[in-house]
Symmetry: C2
Amino acid sequence: MKHDIDIEVSEVGPRDGLQSIKTIMPTEDKKAWVSALAAAGMPEIEVGSFVSPKLLPQMADTAEIVAHALTIPGLAVAVLVPNVRGGKAAIEAGAHKITIPLSCSETHSVRNVNRTHEQMYEEVRGIVAMIKDLPADKRPVLEGGLSTAFGCTLEGEVPERKVVEVAEKLMEAGCDEVGISDTTGFGNPATVKSLIRKVQAAVGKEACTGIHLHNTRGLGLANALAAMEEGITTIDSSMGGIGGCPTAPGASGNIVTEDLVFMLDSMGLKTGIDFDKMFEARRVVQAALPDEPLYGFTPDAGIPLGYKPFKAVA
Amino acid sequence: MKHDIDIEVSEVGPRDGLQSIKTIMPTEDKKAWVSALAAAGMPEIEVGSFVSPKLLPQMADTAEIVAHALTIPGLAVAVLVPNVRGGKAAIEAGAHKITIPLSCSETHSVRNVNRTHEQMYEEVRGIVAMIKDLPADKRPVLEGGLSTAFGCTLEGEVPERKVVEVAEKLMEAGCDEVGISDTTGFGNPATVKSLIRKVQAAVGKEACTGIHLHNTRGLGLANALAAMEEGITTIDSSMGGIGGCPTAPGASGNIVTEDLVFMLDSMGLKTGIDFDKMFEARRVVQAALPDEPLYGFTPDAGIPLGYKPFKAVA
């Protein structure tokens, strides 16, 4: 993380947002969006995923988007991969960070990527081997994503000890860090805090610094606040909350970047992100996806009159 | 507060929600809504305000709604009043709790109710005198509402010391308690915590237990969480978040009861509220206000599969 920011907002809209909608954003628009996000000061962007274009045609141009993003100085370029094949493509593309998600609910893992947990650890080991072959200064960070960490739409409850076990095994398999992911929006501030504590106790605080939240039941920012109170310093979010279910406005998208950034900045936490340029980036998305609803309250309400970030006074 | 709940949700939809929309909800629908809310276990409902029906025709039937609400066993019946005249009507109606809001921004106070702070304290003293004339067991609780506590759309910043001063003067004037109100949605978790601490330090913790939040910039539930962490035990909210600005969905309504109750319950905090009956009450509002948008994510997403409230395990 950059030394001059307190909380790192990791924009996942170009990956999680775009893979969740039917419209395929044209490559040039994706590049413009990534550039606008970076110009606003976004420190990290998950620009796509290396998956089969048959499964997710929205992500077919990921290598080209990575190449574009790598031309932007100072930007951390992240991608998601489901397996060794994707990991190889991500390494070849030169991504700075690779996330391989593993569903803590094994039922979900099998249903979603047709892999048991053991098979997934094998994929991780395969990627780790490739990374170790690289020169030290070319090695991407490998994050294991603890998906469905707060519950699963197939299995229901996912016990904390299962999530801790998966975290430990991902670290044993060679991940640099693990990220807790509320894929299903089942989390609440109490479970968020409790799980972070347990995972950090198992793998170390420095190996569990990020969280990925959805706003499924409106608790997204409260969960983000709870996570920060437990020492989380990287928070995923999606511009305009894109990827939400169109029939239930806002119901299942990621937490909204614009509102998250307003919350952090107003609390006096440095994000490195400029409000006006962030709203400009939103207009880029709006123009590229005219038929997709964009969420978030801050863009409509605007920045408060006489706005100043919080600064504690006696 | 009832002894068997941890956090008291105070439903303000019939007052703050309905006074913010043009549609006038018919009296019988209001009664049905209040009954449905009480049936769901809502411990306290602000059922209306005693204001001039010329100014707010939506509130003209408040006395009748209070009378209806008082027939429901165990329900705390709250109303809002702007002055002595309203206070008299509220006392005559038999409300259990009376809130008189005072805008901490004097500009806003003058513009909104044509009263300086000194004039408002005089109104409070007038109400206190009437309450003292009542037999001890008939006296309503009098709350001073610290409006625009986090900033004002006219003045911008409202200094913490001004809010503390208003809180102290309201208590000196005879209020039983003060409630912090983010009328304009300018608050964030850091300012919420800081202001609660300062007001509680000035007037005592037991005299500052409630908060009134808006979701103007999407931070409503995060602010509620922050408030609870500082010992706040009564949180206002509005079913369906009604009262939001129709041109900017969700942009200025109160925090949404349904999502707040889900957050609290899922955290393992007892609210006394039943989810299914709460959703039934929402359908009553929906039927009575077919043209008003209702907000909230939990009603669309539903309660998670295998749902259990949080319970800390080692």
